[in-house]
């Protein structure tokens, strides 16, 4: 059964996909967007319950490999990772686009901060980002759409420690409403952002972008799992093949296709789309699909205090510190990191952050649950061709699609950067009055980047600066996978800004692209 041909078929309706759907639909194009996950109703489906949330957020089956195999977190749902995320919404800094020129490593992006700036503005307004433009390290910018959130105790304690060291803690810019906005409620500091926001205060893309896309005629198809793209004799994508919600194989035709399945599932879908014309996978003449996988170097530090901090109360991710974001040659490594306050429920701490210990060591830690302040350290991970997403040669999912295999090893720069970030976090904790500090190796990541990077040279990149495949004219790839570098922050706002820019381009160029 074939469905009516549309202008634009979007595969993956997460952070990027939902933005693309809205912007293309508003631009007058007919849009259909598929996601393998369900569509949640926050009030009905979410609860302030850690264990329950762990169950509804499907664990992806991914084969892990490399010297530092890294556990991958992603969310199968309309809204993708943003349903589950903590909504820290950072812009890249100007230097992030020019790492090769400035530091002699990695690559420069084929675009600059100025190219993205208007799109950052637009996305922040649509999401209702709350923040304060007092961060001395941020790019020069106007006010945020909404005022910042009040700091919870954890953030206050850490701010005090950081200030004692002469650092510059500032409220984190969050895609979480601090005032009623766009028909949604403001945050009431329940502290359960990871579990999905029942108040609809967190601006996940399923709540913000999807309804707007639908209002402009876009069709959203949850629980449809994409298997591959088929090409015609002219080397253009002709159809998207998927398994629908009832388990039947279907074909969707469109003039233009956008893959937005995240930096693990996008290369998986492309590599699974082999044909006579493209024997090594779609859009892969450079051989770089799946190469240069990046996340952010991760670590976490807990400071044990004599008095209760109750960090689980309120928005845990209220504060960031970017004093160590830019390169400082005296530190012995290039690039840098962002420090972010965080906390989580007891199961996440015991199984995730403290997953490496058990017995007395685990219980000694957990007895202090109410007494910790905590910092999460998100650092720049330099691209390395050996860090990859490939198709597992043996293991397959229930639809017969090969499982993705993520091979990852930290490089020397990452190891030094990470050690520095831990040292600084410990210093902040001590300055704040912590009686002891505990480090977590935090061997998991949700920041997935690289694997289909953008560039101007078709032999050294997969897509052009507008996220269009070099090889296949009616194929766009737009999500974390087009990132050239990972930066020392969080990726999602930039993913959304890139998606907005890509959609603008498609709408603007529709006469050429949609033929």
């Amino acid at each position: 059964m074939a469905e009516r041909e549309v202008d634009v078929c979007i595969i993956g309706c997460g952070a990027a996909g939902a933005v693309l759907a809205k912007e293309c639909a508003e631009g007058g194009l007919s849009v259909i967007a598929f996601d393998e996950g369900p569509r949640y109703d926050p009030f009905r489906d979410f609860r302030n319950d850690e264990l329950y949330a762990m169950k509804i957020f499907d664990r992806a089956r991914i084969v892990l490999d490399g010297d530092d195999p890294i556990k991958i977190f992603m969310v199968k749902a309309v809204g993708g990772g943003t349903v589950h995320y903590s909504a820290i919404s950072l812009r890249f800094h100007e230097s992030d686009f020019r790492v090769r020129s400035l530091d002699g490593v990695a690559e420069d992006w084929p675009i600059t901060y100025k190219d993205l700036e208007p799109y950052y503005d637009r996305v922040e307004r649509t999401l209702g980002v709350a923040g304060s433009n007092i961060n001395p390290f941020d790019v020069p910018r106007g006010p945020y759409p909404l005022p910042p959130h009040e700091l919870n105790t954890n953030s206050q304690v850490i701010a005090r420690g950081a200030r004692k060291l002469g650092l510059h803690p500032v409220p984190a810019p969050l895609a979480i409403l601090s005032r009623p906005y766009d028909g949604r409620f403001p945050c009431n500091q329940c502290g359960f952002c990871f579990e999905g926001c029942q108040m609809t205060a967190k601006s996940s893309t399923d709540l913000v972008y999807v309804p707007k896309a639908e209002a402009h005629g876009a069709v959203i198809r949850p629980r449809c799992k994409g298997l591959r793209l088929e090409v015609n004799k002219r080397g253009l994508v002709e159809a998207f093949i998927y398994i629908d919600e009832r388990g039947r194989e279907q074909r969707q035709k469109a003039k233009l296709f956008i893959v937005a399945c995240n930096a693990v599932n996008t290369p998986r879908l492309l590599l699974n789309s082999t044909s006579n014309l493209f024997p090594q996978g779609l859009a892969n003449s450079s051989g770089l699909v799946g190469k240069y996988f990046m996340h952010n170097t991760v670590a976490a530090v807990f400071g044990r205090f004599e008095h209760k901090i109750n960090s689980y109360k309120g928005l845990p991710q209220g504060l960031i510190i970017q004093d160590f974001y830019e390169t400082d040659p005296r530190r012995g490594f290039v690039r840098g990191y962002t420090m972010e306050t965080f906390y989580a429920g007891p199961i996440t701490l015991a199984n995730g952050f403290m997953g490496h210990v058990w017995g007395d060591e685990l219980m000694d830690f957990m007895r202090g649950y109410a007494y910790y302040a905590a910092l999460f350290l998100s650092g720049e991970d330099l691209p390395n061709e050996k860090n990859t997403v490939t198709l597992d040669p043996d293991l397959k999912d229930e639809h017969g699609m090969p499982l993705p295999r993520v091979t990852y090893s930290y490089g020397e720069n990452e190891i030094k950067l990470r050690a520095h970030s831990i040292q600084m976090a410990e210093a902040i904790m001590r300055a704040a009055g912590a009686v002891k500090t505990i480090g977590s190796p935090a061997r998991g990541t949700a920041h997935l980047m690289g694997t289909c990077r953008m560039g101007t040279d078709p032999s050294r990149s997969v897509v052009n600066p507008f996220c269009q495949s070099h090889d296949v004219k009616n194929l766009f790839i737009c999500d974390g996978s087009v990132f050239v570098t990972s930066t020392g922050g969080n990726p999602t706002l930039t993913i959304q800004a890139l998606a907005t820019r890509t959609a603008d381009y498609i709408v603007h160029e529709k006469a050429n692209l949609l033929t």
Partner: protein
């Protein structure tokens, strides 16, 4: 809390004809476990709890893995899933290792805590003689066992109270989220 359980457990044990007077936690566990488990035999349940007790060791005044009925959680979680086979194989593996440790037919659940810890560390690291665990599933088994025990334990409101976690807070949120720690 403990007291009440002790009495109930004791009655069950006594009813089953036990002559033991000095009840260790593990024995308590088996007494409670033998009835409700739908997927483990009495002995398997005893083995799970003998492991749980050293993975989450608690003090006298703290809720124990038995008090919060971790076994029941695991039971519900892995029933009807492929994890069950992993557990059944793993529990037998623990007994095999216990047998290697000393003379005579010794079982994991009968070992003192220090030896149970030593065995679990070997299973976790996968540093086992091949014939003691032919399938090589030891480290995976340990990961799942540890994970399920932690989930069962730390999802209990009893434990939340003990560690000072507030749990669910909607639909009012935490109004005291920004209170400065009292000095």
């Amino acid at each position: 809390m403990n007291l009440k359980l002790t009495r109930r457990a004791f009655i069950q044990l006594a009813g089953a004809g036990s002559t033991g007077l000095l009840l260790t936690r593990v024995e308590l566990a088996s007494a409670r476990a033998s009835a409700p488990s739908r997927i483990f035999s009495g002995h398997q349940a005893r083995t799970v709890l003998a492991a749980a007790e050293v993975i989450i060791p608690t003090r006298e005044n703290e809720p124990s893995v038995v008090d919060v009925n971790v076994l029941d959680y695991i039971d519900r979680e892995i029933r009807g899933s492929s994890e069950r086979a992993l557990f059944v194989e793993g529990l037998a593996g623990l007994d095999r290792l216990a047998g290697l440790l000393g003379r005579g037919p010794r079982r994991f659940a009968d070992l003192p805590a220090a030896q149970r810890i030593a065995i679990l560390k070997m299973v976790e690291a996968g540093t086992l003689p091949v014939d003691a665990w032919p399938s090589g599933s030891g480290p995976l088994f340990f990961r799942q066992l540890r994970r399920r025990i932690v989930e069962g334990y730390f999802s209990s409101p009893l434990v939340w109270k003990f560690i000072g976690y507030g749990g669910r807070s909607q639909f009012i949120g935490y109004p005291d989220f920004n209170r400065w720690p009292q000095q």
